[in-house]
Symmetry: C2
Subunit: 198 residues, 2 copies
């Protein structure tokens, strides 16, 4: 046997250690905690994971996580149409939602253009964005992308694909090289209010 | 809806955030990772958790995590009998095992005596240790407890319960106030070799 007991425990530790933010040591601590709190934590967690595995999918419209074809935001009639906020990933969408300042809809690119990693527009959800702008007669596209080179390259590429549409971008408050998901709500609110035309 | 999408996702994030070492932000990151790697990570993790929940229990002999009545160490005929290493918790047992220097068996106390937290001998697995020493005719009890006040109080209490039995304690290398699970293998090896009689 190995140091960490039987196979099922070892397998659980190895899988937990693959989660972002957990190394082998914290994975071991987490598993001991789980075994101690079998009813209060381990079983509910296993069940929540199974449920998410069965239901989670990509929203066919915007790329957000959804449990049906359309995510809760795309399906919500109270969300303003005609204003689409473009984010790199779902973590950024969640950060925007926590700021509670944007009432339109989203478009999740799934990454940024990257010459280095050979990520082109077809790898992202850019063609679908162009379609949506036409279909939904969007009046404003707000780019909430990171202030990195790849983020800004992506922003300019999207603006070029949408001539005649107002394309703005979060400006004030997004630190150079900073990622959206690390910002506090106030900074996101300020950046949204000070958005400027590209 | 809340910022983090539908109920199942929110529930999973809230449960993950209760794991040691994960806060709300890293729990969100972890859940997004899980959804992205549904087949490679989320489903195997849900399954491993279910399996551990169904099989994991306490070894009736030593208190280690087990999948049967006896843990793999107590059931292993190649482990030396007559030498019992006493640890506070299973994380410490795993740390000892990783050092690969001890070939006897263990006894997991489940804590240390603590006047402050009102933890007495009956709350720990001390009466069972005294029984085992008699039953297994143990010739040496090695106390691998933290060099904290409660750890040392516990060590002396155990030594008092076992007159006529050789009770040693890890010595050199365990930093004052230090916890065993943080030590590297070499330090544990040195401490075991330099153990001294109480
Ligand atoms: Zn959607
Ligand atoms: Zn055992």
């Amino acid at each position: 046997m190995s140091a960490e007991g039987d196979e099922a425990i070892q397998r659980l530790i190895a899988l937990m250690a693959r989660l972002p933010g957990l190394g082998p040591r914290s994975a071991r601590r987490a598993v001991l905690q789980l075994v101690k709190k079998k009813g209060a934590l381990l079983l509910p967690l296993a069940e929540a994971m199974r449920e998410v595995a069965e239901t989670a999918r990509e929203c066919v419209n915007c790329g957000n996580i959804a449990t049906r074809d359309l995510c809760e935001i795309c399906a919500d009639p109270k969300r303003r149409t005609g204003q689409i906020c473009v984010v790199e990933d779902v973590a950024d969408l969640w950060a925007m939602e926590r700021a509670q300042v944007f009432r339109g809809r989203y478009h999740v690119l799934g990454g940024t253009l990257s010459a280095l990693d050979a990520v082109g527009p077809e790898e992202l959800r850019i063609p679908r964005l162009v379609e949506r702008v036409r279909e939904e007669e969007a009046s404003e596209i707000i780019l909430a992308l990171a202030a990195t080179i790849d983020g800004q390259t992506t922003a300019h590429y999207i603006a070029d694909q949408l001539p005649g549409t107002s394309v703005t971008s979060l400006a004030q408050g997004v630190p150079v090289g900073g990622e959206l998901d690390y910002l506090d709500d106030g900074t996101i609110t300020a950046a949204l209010k000070a958005r400027r035309a590209l």
